[in-house]
């Protein structure tokens, strides 16, 4: 689309690493958008308006990628030529799969019992598990350069995200029946 030479990290003046100062990222994002956003070019020539839209779109894409732990990790691996195989590699350690099943059962029980508090608790557990994986990503990517390990963490995070979505949907469904 646009031939911006740098990758997303470069665009924000950040080193290509998993650990990112999110506050700094936010600040850079706002500064960049202040320069390129279509609001700055509403009265400009059509060629500039088009270019502005393309650049602002690119900045949004880069920002969303770096903001999300899983997208950021996936992107870093991609920059290093590693595919996370999220759609093809479904092998998981047995313990991890057991935990998934336990969570799913807990969701079913809590939903059947209309136990919103119970579901909230599960959500907290999920968040905790995700934070663990994120810490692992940091050491795998930034310290050990163990890309295979990092790819596995990304796949796990994907699983965890799906479970989290299910819990949130269950809470929402119970909410709407209030």
């Amino acid at each position: 689309m646009i031939d911006i030479q740098q990758n997303h990290f470069g665009l924000f003046g950040l080193p290509a690493a998993y650990a990112v100062d999110l506050a700094y990222l936010d600040q850079c994002y706002r500064t960049l958008q202040s320069e390129v956003h279509p609001d700055r070019f509403a009265a400009a020539a059509p060629a500039e308006r088009l270019r502005s839209m393309q650049l602002a779109t690119h900045v949004n894409e880069a920002y969303q990628t770096l903001k999300s732990p899983i997208a950021r990790a996936r992107y870093l691996l991609h920059l290093n030529g590693v595919d996370t195989q999220e759609d093809t590699n479904t092998a998981m350690p047995a313990a991890f799969l057991m935990q998934q099943m336990e969570w799913r059962e807990a969701i079913e029980e809590a939903t059947a019992a209309s136990d919103v508090a119970g579901l909230d608790q599960l959500l907290r557990e999920l968040r905790h598990a995700a934070k663990d994986q994120e810490a692992q990503l940091h050491s795998a990517l930034d310290q050990n350069k163990d890309y295979a390990q990092a790819a596995e963490s990304v796949r796990k995070l994907r699983f965890l995200d799906k479970v989290r979505d299910e819990i949130e949907q269950a809470i929402e469904a119970l909410d709407e029946n209030l």
Partner: protein, 621 residues
């Protein structure tokens, strides 16, 4: 009053450069136009000093139309031809409207958008809205003493593509240059002059006549970032009126009544609702056309009971938006109330209880949206020359493609910050296939039949290949107005596929052209003169924009490039002084093409400058 200060010493534009820009709130019940004058955002009044323009259009047998208060007085007398709340029909088909029978209008089931049969002919909601916009345009130009450079028109945040496009079409019909379609809650947030010193998360609760929006925004040093938005584009104050209306019918044990009496009772119901804002009870009395007398007392308690389900209906989208934004109630700094319906004490209590804080109500809820739109119009037109105000809005509903089995696959998720683009790769099914069809829909449901169909895109000109060999990348781009455009490119051969858009709703360019031609009751000019003037205005704008760009960044071009740009500029100047609209349009196209390289270079330099600024910041930390 917390309004943004606009001019700064030494930074205001020279008088002859000040561009006339206004903000328009095209509301379900009332419409307004506002502008920034001497640094203050103000609503413009009509000749009788009234700020609000009732969004009512009354069609006459001679083909003309009355708009506003004059039309409103005709509601009960001529209900079939007095259209109220046309906004509810924008971008909607007959099957989209629940309880069609409640309205006294003669609906016509037309493909894409319903129409209304009136004594002045069959009218589209787009034409009806254009009548209202035309009145506001005239009011603004008279008040400001000149032609408008551009307008910002507000739309409910929860309006989908069809509804937004219809709004833009109405503006085009009225001869307005739309600088931006702005979401109403965002406009309100701006007007509350959450000025540069404030930081934090704010919620805008906007209950209008026919639509409900709730938006969660983060404000940080002049940047308004929408985190999530939700709502119901078919829920508003009108529905509260209807509950009272139904109660009256029941209580007074009335036999079935005609359209005139329906309109009369609905008006009484609205008045009663408004009375209850400041009184514990109110009397509803009137004589129907049949001679029946209605004399009832409505108490606040009964009213609250009747309308409690509606209030609850606003809280579900509110919870959803908070979840999508991942914001807890304790993180909300302030809740802004927008829309006349938020005057109801019941609403204020419900919101205060939900958020555990008193909502902000100091600005007139009827005017706040127009005021905010005017502030942004002033910035977009180029009058305000700094980088303080930036609105980062979102797309309210997911965009998806129809896949096998009538399912939707989401391509752009809801609450994505706009502008946003996504590319999706497709391939061919049969050997030698040169075309394919893609169906785009908007909504959160799994079945495409439960989403809003936006368009079917036909890609033609795919180079014939073995089945599965082609790599067609289709790019979906949503712009800053929340409108979608599609482009497609066959990757292996690098050929741009020709995309033909068949919108499922709305007006084609031909339909708009013919509406413009068949004349439009308030337009005094003949169509040729209008086409010429529009071409001239567009040429002037383009020339001005490029001249300003050269002023700032002319150094980016070398001698030869500068001449190559100045030639088409000069040519266009000459053409614009003439009478040939078509030649002017060609000249505009040539100049646009000629300026592309310069535009790209300016933007890239701008981005590099922004990044360089970072490195400096880093060093200073």
């Amino acid at each position: 009053m917390a309004l943004l200060q606009i001019s700064e010493p030494g930074h205001s534009a020279a008088p002859h450069q000040h561009r006339l820009a206004v903000g328009i709130d095209l509301g379900t019940t009332n419409s307004l136009v506002a502008t920034v004058r001497s640094g203050m955002s103000v609503v413009l009044h009509d000749e009788q000093g009234r700020a609000l323009l009732p969004s009512v259009v009354h069609y006459l047998a001679n083909g003309g139309a009355e708009v506003g208060y004059a039309a409103q007085t005709q509601q009960s007398r001529d209900p079939h031809n007095t259209i109220v709340s046309a906004k509810r029909f924008m971008g909607r088909g007959v099957h989209d409207i629940p309880d069609l029978g409640h309205y006294p209008y003669r609906f016509v089931d037309a493909p894409g958008m319903l129409q209304l049969s009136t004594v002045a002919g069959v009218k589209s909601p787009v034409e009806i809205s254009a009548e209202i916009l035309q009145v506001l345009k005239t009011r603004a130009e008279k008040s400001l003493g000149g032609e408008l450079t551009g307008v910002v028109i507000t739309v409910p945040a929860y309006f989908d593509e069809a509804q937004r496009q219809a709004t833009k079409d109405a503006a085009q019909l009225a001869g307005l240059n739309v600088l931006r379609l702005l979401n109403e809650p965002t406009a309100a947030a701006v007007a509350y002059g959450l000025d540069n010193a404030s930081e934090g998360v704010f919620v805008v609760y906007d209950l209008g006549g026919g639509t409900f929006d709730v938006s969660i925004l983060r404000l940080s040093r002049g940047v308004f970032e929408v985190l999530a938005t939700n709502g119901d584009s078919a829920l508003g104050g009108d529905d509260f009126d209807r509950r009272v209306f139904c109660w009256v019918l029941e209580q007074a044990k009335l036999p079935p009544i005609g359209p005139e009496d329906t309109r009369l009772l609905l008006t009484k119901a609205r008045e009663a609702k408004e009375q209850l804002t400041d009184h514990a009870d109110t009397r509803i009395t009137c004589v129907l056309a049949s001679g029946e007398l209605v004399d009832l007392t409505l108490t606040t308690q009964i009213f609250n009971e009747l309308t409690q389900p509606l209030v609850s209906k606003t809280l579900a989208p509110t919870r959803k938006a908070l979840r999508d934004a991942r914001i807890g109630i304790e993180e909300v700094q302030g809740v802004v109330m927008v829309g006349g319906a938020t005057r109801m004490p019941q609403i204020q209590h419900a919101v205060a209880e939900f958020f555990q804080q008193e909502p902000l109500t100091n600005l007139d809820p009827d005017k706040v949206v127009a005021l905010g739109a005017a502030i942004q119009a002033n910035v977009l037109a180029g009058n305000k020359n700094d980088n303080e105000l930036l609105l980062l809005d979102v797309i309210p509903l997911s965009l998806g493609l129809e896949t096998m089995g009538g399912l939707t696959e989401k391509v752009i998720p809801r609450n994505s910050t706009i502008p946003v683009a996504r590319a999706q790769d497709f391939t061919t099914f049969k050997d030698g296939q040169t075309a394919m069809s893609i169906h785009v829909a908007q909504g959160e449901r799994e079945l495409v039949s439960e989403c809003r169909s936006l368009a079917r895109f036909e890609l033609r000109g795919i180079p014939p290949m073995v089945a599965g060999a082609a790599r067609i990348r289709v790019t979906f781009q949503v712009d800053a107005d929340g409108l979608l455009s599609v482009s497609a490119r066959e990757q292996t051969k690098g050929v741009e596929a020709h995309v033909v858009v068949k919108p499922s709703y709305g007006l084609s360019d031909d339909e708009i052209a013919s509406m413009l031609q068949s004349g439009f009751s308030h337009a005094q000019d003949d169509k040729q003169a209008r086409a010429l003037r529009e071409a001239q205005v567009e040429a002037e704008r383009l020339l001005e924009a490029i001249a300003a760009a050269l002023d700032k960044d002319g150094a980016l071009l070398d001698e030869a490039e500068l001449t190559a740009l100045q030639q088409p500029m000069e040519l266009l100047r000459v053409l614009a002084a003439g009478n040939d609209a078509r030649a002017i349009t060609h000249g505009i196209e040539s100049l646009n093409r000629a300026s592309e390289t310069f535009a790209a270079r300016r933007m890239d330099a701008s981005v590099r400058k922004a990044l360089a600024g970072h490195t400096l910041d880093e060093l200073n930390l």
